[in-house]
Amino acid sequence: MKKLLNNTYSYWFLVPAGLIYVTFFIAPTFMSFFFSLTRWTLFDWEFIGLENFIMFFQESSLKVGFRNTLFFATVTALSKVVLGFALGLVLTMGIRFTGFLRSIVFFPTILSIVAVGITFRRLMHPAHGAINRTLALFGISGPNWLGNVDIAMLSVSLVDVWRGVGIATVIFIAGMQAIPRDYYEAVSIDGGGFWRQVWHVTVPLSRPATNSVLLLAMIGGLRTFDLVWTMTGGGPGFSTDLIASIIYKQYQAGFYGLATAGNVILFFVVAAIAVPLFWFLNRKEVTL
């Protein structure tokens, strides 16, 4: 039977997927390790060692990408965890309009990012944008969201949270719905009120959901390109340039070796953060 089964689940079944995956994903990844060490015109290459990488760490217009990428990924991931948890909590309490509210929180996540970027560029206009007009009604003079180098990165992060918190919310909701009622009752019998129940039951038992959201948001954040590109194009100056947008700029400028080095750096940044995070989170996971 074992032999029959091994013949049945033949590795031949992996060939179609493997062929596509290896050709169009794995092979280019390995090629990138080599070409990142070259000055490359697509027709011709010249081996220059680590020069591209040194440039990435020295040139201030490239270096800024690291800080921005880490800032963007961390801020958006943590915000999505906190807000997604809070929204998930409220939207599993059986309040009015729950179904509608879940839908409207989730809907932005399936919208086109380019469309979201364009819309918020308009809403965040310093003088006439709807956001600052609304703030003005309360006597607050809103900032130049996307034009001020000090807050542009934060503004883009805010929009990314608006767009992505819905996924976090539905993941938390799914996790919270799986928590048995008895756990809450046990705390309640011991005299624990709402906040104690949240702290001692919901928070620890939402651990798997928290891990998924954190990891997903972190990886997504580190790789982000489209939202930043459509909202600010990396500007003003280089204040919102991420590693991914720098790769695109270098590619457009024809510096293919440099762009590929950026790709390799992004590869290592994602791996250096995601792999330990994955290991750390799974090690301490609480099981139901």
Binding site: A17, Y21, S32, I95, F97, F107, A115, I118, T119, A271
Partner: protein
């Protein structure tokens, strides 16, 4: 009775209502803004106001968007649909096969293969080498090379989903089919594929949203006016319509319609699909 003199129940109602209004405004206002501006004339759209269109011209704006650049938007819808549908079909067929073998088979090769699959969930695609590869193969700037790339990018999550679901299908099912004389291919095509339908639904939903909304990959791998995809028309029109925001928002509205319709029809399925994709992936 509470401090304010209102019964607790009434306060609860009020708090709930305020919360509902707040969330609705926060998440709904940008969508309403798009819907309103898409029907304005040029001067009114320039004001960026959250106001009703003075002389609604939704159809005229839409007509202009569709007519622009010799119907680039229509071509884009066609291209994006072809890419999305073809990619999904391939993903299902080859992804389910892989998921089946990688879950059922106990072999030394399974672990390293799964490592490669999981790596694909986080590693960003190498841009320029992929372009070079496509050029070398002579398929750069073709729709089907875009399809193959979308398949490659979406394969890892697809395989992980199918593999996870295969656990819930008892192996006795396979064994009895084999004893009845089914070939491996028949087992896959007649028994397994119909049984994994829930995952197939998830894969369809997830990939449709991802591929239809994909901007980055077509930007790099599918340049050229005749190859334009939906997200790129929008991006291209961003500079073209720098002063005609009504048309830009009309385009935004048009492009948001497919996800909107899909969301209204498949709401539960989409949410379930996204959760499954996130948690298992």
């Amino acid at each position: 009775m509470t401090l304010t003199g209102l019964p607790r129940r009434v306060i609860r109602e009020i708090v709930q209502l305020v919360f509902a209004v707040l969330i609705t405004v926060l998440f709904g206002a940008p969508l309403v803004f798009v819907a309103l501006n898409a029907g304005m004339d040029v001067p009114q759209a320039a004001e960026m106001r959250m106001a009703l269109p003075e002389s609604p011209q939704y159809l005229a704006n839409l007509g202009e968007v569709i007519a622009a650049r010799d119907g680039a938007v229509l071509r884009a819808f066609w291209n994006s649909s072809v890419i999305t549908v073809s990619s999904i079909v391939i993903l299902i067929v080859v992804g389910a096969m892989s998921g089946m073998v990688l879950q059922r088979r106990r072999g030394k090769a399974v672990t390293p293969i799964m490592f490669l699959v999981l790596a694909g969930l986080m590693v960003p695609p190498a841009v320029v080498p992929t372009i070079k590869l496509l050029q070398t193969l002579g398929i750069f700037k073709t729709l089907y090379s875009m399809v193959l790339i979308e398949v490659a990018i979406n394969l890892p999550v697809t395989i992980v989903l199918y593999r996870a679901y295969m656990v819930s299908i008892p192996q006795e099912m396979d064994e009895s089919a084999l004893i009845e004389g089914a070939s491996p291919w028949q087992l896959y095509w007649r028994i397994i594929l119909p049984l994994v339908k829930p995952v197939t639904a998830t894969v369809i939903v997830l990939s449709a949203v991802f591929i239809f909304n994909d901007f980055v990959h077509p930007l790099y791998f599918l340049p050229g006016a005749e190859n334009v995809t939906v997200q790129l028309t929008l991006y291209n029109f961003m500079s073209r319509y720098a002063t005609q925001w009504n048309l830009l928002f009309s385009n935004v509205l048009l492009i948001s319609l497919p996800p909107l319709v899909a969301f209204i029809v498949f709401n539960k399925r989409i949410v379930a699909g996204v959760v499954a994709g996130a948690v298992k992936g």
